[in-house]
């Protein structure tokens, strides 16, 4: 009884509880601060990566050729029945494999899969129709092409951004992956991948550094009279459709994912 009456300090349980609460609040504070520090570091990395992404867009602008080269005044050499080859004349230089073209009077867009050397401004092109599903059985000319029909190149393989589609920048050191790419794409992969690696650090599992290229159509309101209001015909708003090449660069690091986009105007 005497001992209990005279107990003026804290019991062990009270002391331990107090110490635990103190320790807990310290741990909470430290954890919060550590998390804040980590987020801050990650945002700093993304901030620098954003400049690297801008650099990539600028370099893609240099790659991109919005006005396809026509290689002279290309014409169909002679009447040609549907098949996978066509002879083109009027060429001042040799078109590239991967170039796309259309033929006046023949439906479809065609991609060059191989070609013969230029001889007297003429080359025989082996082609595949490009605007139909890739698993189509018949990719030959959709119809007969007349002699002297105009041939118009709509896309040059060299000025196209298509070859950058699905470029995985995480694989910048993977020589097997590099060997599957065209030389210029490979050079850029090494440069850009290295740059992102420098700014973002080593990637972890599930991280992403990916380029995607696609065509997007955008409805642009028509305002010919410049009154700030979309022109109408019979009460219906009028739009013009514009196709643009859209390049998306996705970067995912830890649990933060940023998407950067730029549009490249087609045919301007």
């Amino acid at each position: 009884m005497k001992n209990k009456k005279n107990q003026k300090g804290l019991s062990i349980v009270e002391a331990i509880t107090a110490a635990s609460i103190l320790a807990l609040s310290i741990i909470v504070f430290m954890t919060l601060q550590s998390q804040q520090e980590q987020r801050f570091t990650l945002l700093r990395k993304f901030d620098k990566a954003a400049y690297a992404v801008d650099l990539m867009f600028e370099e893609l602008t240099a790659v991109y050729n919005p006005v396809p080269i026509q290689y002279g005044t290309p014409l169909v050499n002679a009447n040609t029945t549907p098949g996978n080859q066509i002879v083109i004349k009027g060429l001042t230089s040799l078109p590239d494999v991967g170039d796309h073209f259309i033929i006046s009077g023949v439906a479809g867009t065609y991609e060059i899969t191989s070609r013969t050397a230029l001889s007297s401004n003429t080359s025989t092109l082996t082609i595949e129709r490009e605007d139909i599903p890739s698993d189509s059985v018949n990719k030959n000319l959709a119809g007969s092409a007349s002699a002297n029909a105009a041939v118009t190149f709509t896309m040059n393989a060299n000025g196209s951004l298509e070859k950058y589609n699905t470029l995985d920048l995480l694989k910048f050191e993977d020589t097997v992956y590099q060997n599957t790419l065209a030389t210029d794409v490979r050079d850029n992969l090494i440069k850009w991948g290295g740059l992102l690696n420098e700014h973002l650090g080593r990637s972890l599992e599930n991280d992403k550094r990916l380029i995607e290229v696609s065509d997007v159509t955008i409805n642009i309101p028509i305002d010919d009279n410049n009154d700030g209001i979309t022109d109408q015909i019979s009460g219906v708003d009028q739009f013009t459709v514009s196709t643009k090449t859209q390049v998306t660069i996705r970067i995912k690091q830890d649990d933060v994912e940023e998407i950067f986009r730029r549009h490249f105007t087609n045919g301007s």
Binding site: M30, F40, K48, E58, A62
Partner: protein, 223 residues
């Protein structure tokens, strides 16, 4: 001891008990209290100090961010249009872009330069065509500055894209502070790559940035 002696014989046994007269802390208790409060205080200070450091670091980083954003914006705005020739201009642009090292020697493609000169046509306030050179390089804000350099630019009239056609000393305009390094490289496909190192105001953090400017006019040959 005095009080104990004084009370001896006058108080009942209960009250003579040592514990009953313990009004202050024992030495052990006091020491424990001091140790615990020291621990608590130092932990609190450590946490506060860390928060404070993080806060200051974030502010300093924001300063760097602002400066580099402004610098890159200016560099891209001016250098992307290098080689722009006004449609009514009689002469072609003689030297759209020119790079030099710190000794004033010409720098070839894919090598690092310290100074960049861009030449282009502009319109003055009276809509007259005026050919100008825009020059960028790192300079000391004051001659007494030992390490601190800032990005500066000069804009001046020219007739031949090489020499100034202005009379008097050309003015340097400050663009952005806290630059530690600024290197420019031109590639053969008319891209200028900038390698920038920024140092925070406290001089503790150095951040590296890479940016680029594609010179459309030079590339598409509007000369």
């Amino acid at each position: 001891m005095m009080s104990k002696k004084f009370l001896e014989g006058t108080l009942p046994m209960d009250l003579k008990n040592n514990n009953f007269f313990q009004l202050g802390f024992s030495l052990a208790e006091a020491l424990m209290a001091v140790i615990i409060s020291t621990l608590v205080m130092s932990t609190s200070y450590y946490i506060y100090n860390n928060f404070q450091k993080t806060f200051v670091r974030q502010i300093n980083h924001n300063v760097i961010k602002q400066e580099v954003r402004f610098a890159v914006h200016n560099l891209q705005k001016d250098l992307k249009v290098a080689g722009y020739k006004h449609i009514d201009s009689a002469d072609n642009i003689q030297r759209a872009i020119h790079l030099e090292d710190s000794d004033g020697n010409d720098v070839s493609d894919n090598s690092e330069a310290d100074t960049v000169y861009a030449c282009l046509d502009t319109l003055d306030n009276s809509n007259n065509i005026q050919r100008k050179i825009i020059r960028y390089e790192l300079r000391k804000e004051q001659s007494t500055d030992a390490n601190k350099t800032i990005l500066m630019k000069q804009v001046y009239n020219t007739n031949n894209c090489v020499d100034s056609s202005e009379v008097g000393t050309l003015t340097w305009l400050p663009v952005a502070k806290h630059f530690k390094k600024f290197k420019i490289t031109k590639s053969s496909n008319n891209i200028l790559n900038f390698e920038i190192q920024m140092e925070d105001p406290a001089g503790q953090v150095i951040e590296k940035y890479n940016a680029a400017a594609f010179m459309r006019n030079v590339s598409y040959g509007t000369n």
